[in-house]
């Protein structure tokens, strides 16, 4: 009895392996690589139905993970959605295809504010997907006055009530901003000062966090946190005691954009996909699901006014005056890493 059971199991296993291993493919397949939970799933299904193209959807955790996989060359992706500085790096390393914008007529809906940005000055390689700022999320009940400067994160009054981002570039970047320098600085003196400032701050920091910052702020575990604007929108909705501000020294504003890596076999279909994502209804659905700011002018019009009117969700031009986009730091990354290790080992 037992024997037969095991034999049947073995047969089933073999069939499963074969069935999965060799599927018949006569459809064009598009391999898309995106952040986790960063698209409205139904959008993919609509695309498949409309164009009869199968979408293989993979997710990555960080830009760096994605970069290693794409650079190594083992997988063949047709669409990637990385962040600004990573796009610049990939352009410099000749890893991206130039886009034929005549195949992407819906590009006209992208806000002209978001064209010709530093990481892709001639709009040859990317189409913006989502964007936002970095700023301070604070609990109005736990903070005595509205913060206006990054220096509030160094205020001893809020010892162990401060949450910093566990990300080298973001944390060192805003420290540089606090000191009045560029967050893309390569100057050793400026970096040394930033390191000292971070070491000084360490005793005041409750924790260096990643995404758990949202739940913590909503629960009132800390008074101040450094977050992305998209996350701030979500937090404020869940806990109205919270508010968000971009400090006067300026901050980082970031973009995630769609690119096509070199070596794709399906450039036409990829461009079709990008064009599809830029359709008003589709862009609106994505923005609605994800909750970050969309660069699509018509989609923004469709979104509820209570979101688009909030300055922290959709910053105005003047809010971005001192803000910068991250650029690729090249070899200075080693310095950043050293500083971060020293701060953390202190």
């Amino acid at each position: 009895m037992k024997k037969r059971f095991f034999r049947v199991l073995l047969v089933v296993l073999c069939i499963t392996v074969f069935a999965v291993g060799c599927g018949k493919k006569n459809q064009v397949e598009l391999n898309v690589y995106n952040w986790g939970d960063y698209i409205d799933e139904s959008v993919l299904q609509d695309f498949e139905k409309k164009y009869n193209i199968k979408v293989n959807y993979d997710t990555f955790t960080t830009n760096e993970d994605m970069y290693v996989k794409v650079k190594a060359g083992g997988s063949h992706y047709d669409i990637l959605i990385p962040s600004d500085y990573m796009i610049k790096r990939m352009i410099d390393e000749d890893m991206l295809e130039k886009l034929d914008l005549s195949n992407i007529p819906n590009y006209k809906y992208i806000d002209s504010r978001f064209k010709n940005l530093e990481y892709d000055p001639n709009n040859e390689y990317s189409v913006p997907y989502m964007w936002g700022t970095v700023g301070i999320l604070y609990n109005k009940k736990m903070v005595s006055e509205k913060p206006t400067s990054w220096k509030v994160l160094w205020d001893k009054k809020y010892a162990k009530q401060i949450l910093m981002m566990d990300s080298q570039r973001d944390s060192i970047g805003i420290t540089l901003k606090m000191l009045g320098y560029s967050l893309n600085s390569k100057n050793p003196d400026e970096l040394e000062q930033a390191k000292q400032a971070l070491i000084e701050q360490k005793s005041l920091v409750l924790a260096y966090v990643v995404d758990e910052v949202k739940d913590k702020m909503i629960a009132g575990e800390a008074a101040l946190a450094v977050v992305w604007s998209g996350d701030a929108v979500y937090c404020i909705r869940e806990n109205p005691d919270l508010d968000y501000v971009v400090p006067e020294e300026g901050s980082n504003y970031w973009f995630d954009a769609i690119v096509i890596p070199k070596g794709t076999q399906h450039k036409k279909e990829a461009e079709l996909f990008i064009n599809f994502l830029c359709e008003t209804d589709i862009a609106y659905r994505n923005a609605d699901y994800i909750g970050y700011a969309s660069p699509h002018t018509e989609a923004v019009k469709k979104l509820p006014k209570e979101i688009t009117s909030k300055r922290y969700a959709y910053p105005l031009e003047e809010d971005l005056t001192n803000s910068e986009i991250f650029v690729d730091l090249g070899s200075v990354l080693k310095e950043f890493d050293r500083i971060w290790t020293e701060v953390k080992s202190h």
Partner: protein, 263 residues
């Protein structure tokens, strides 16, 4: 008996420790709000959304398939290897054991990237097969580490006795040796399956073409915050396994009692 009470008490506390987070997770799968910071009321919406999410269901499927196949294969290869190693002379045995420790010692990222480079070098496209091969590879050392102590414990004389009594080596193995090492083999199988389910880094770097595991899907949500759909999925998975266990146990005890009645 105080001793028995203390023993059961200790085990109970330990299990409470092990299951506390699981209960918390299950709890929040019914939370109407997405955040772990507030409780907004009871809701089943995450369960509904989970069933509609093709991505999550596909990755669950692959996780289970890879988990089962890789743990079974690893157990077979690993058990055989454990026997072979046990019979080696000191020097080759030490070498092989140290080589066995290496994948366990290596940080996941190093193992993951080195496997990826290997696959690319031999022009194997990253996908299901490469994922399976990587999982089998990191599972085998754990099987060996589980089975080897049991083999060491074996009384060599029993096997010889069986042979002396006229059994063929194969029968002697099956009827004498195998039952003795079974706890080790089962332990190895369980550990391998567990490791396979939970692995992220190695899987991430060695898969492609839409083959994703549950771990990858979950870790990829790290930047945005883990969607409670995952809580719902985990709770369901857990619930089903627990139900299965309880059912098997009830059936077994019924079998036992009916056997006792007839004998």
């Amino acid at each position: 008996m105080v001793k028995s009470f203390l023993k059961r008490g200790y085990l109970f506390l330990l299990f409470a420790f092990l299951y506390a987070p699981i209960i918390v997770l299950a709890f929040y799968s019914f939370n109407s709000s997405r955040s772990r910071g507030t409780w907004d009321g009871f809701s089943l919406k995450w369960y509904i959304q989970m069933f509609q999410d093709r991505q999550i269901l596909t990755s669950l499927y692959y996780s289970l398939v890879i988990g089962i196949i890789s743990s079974v294969v690893a157990t077979i290869i690993g058990t055989m290897a454990a026997f072979g190693i046990n019979n080696m002379k000191t020097l080759p045995r030490a070498t092989v054991m140290n080589l066995t420790y290496l994948p366990v010692l290596n940080p996941d990222i190093v193992t993951g990237i080195s496997f990826m480079l290997l696959f690319i070098f031999i022009r194997l496209k990253l996908g299901f097969i490469t994922l399976l091969l990587s999982h089998i590879t990191f599972n085998i050392p754990y099987v060996i580490l589980s089975v080897l102590p049991r083999i060491k414990q074996l009384d060599k004389n029993m096997y010889e006795a069986a042979l002396d009594l006229g059994a063929t080596p194969a029968v002697a193995f099956r009827k004498v040796v195998l039952p003795e090492i079974m706890p080790g083999v089962i332990t190895g199988l369980l550990l391998a399956f567990t490791l396979s389910l939970d692995d992220f880094v190695i899987s991430f770097f060695n898969t492609g073409s839409g083959v994703s595991t549950l771990s990858i899907t979950i870790y990829s949500m790290a930047r945005r915050g883990i969607n409670p759909k995952i809580n719902a999925l985990s709770t369901l998975m857990f619930g089903s396994i627990l139900t299965l266990l309880i059912t098997i146990n009830l059936l077994m005890s019924r079998q036992k009692s009916s056997k006792e009645r007839t004998s």
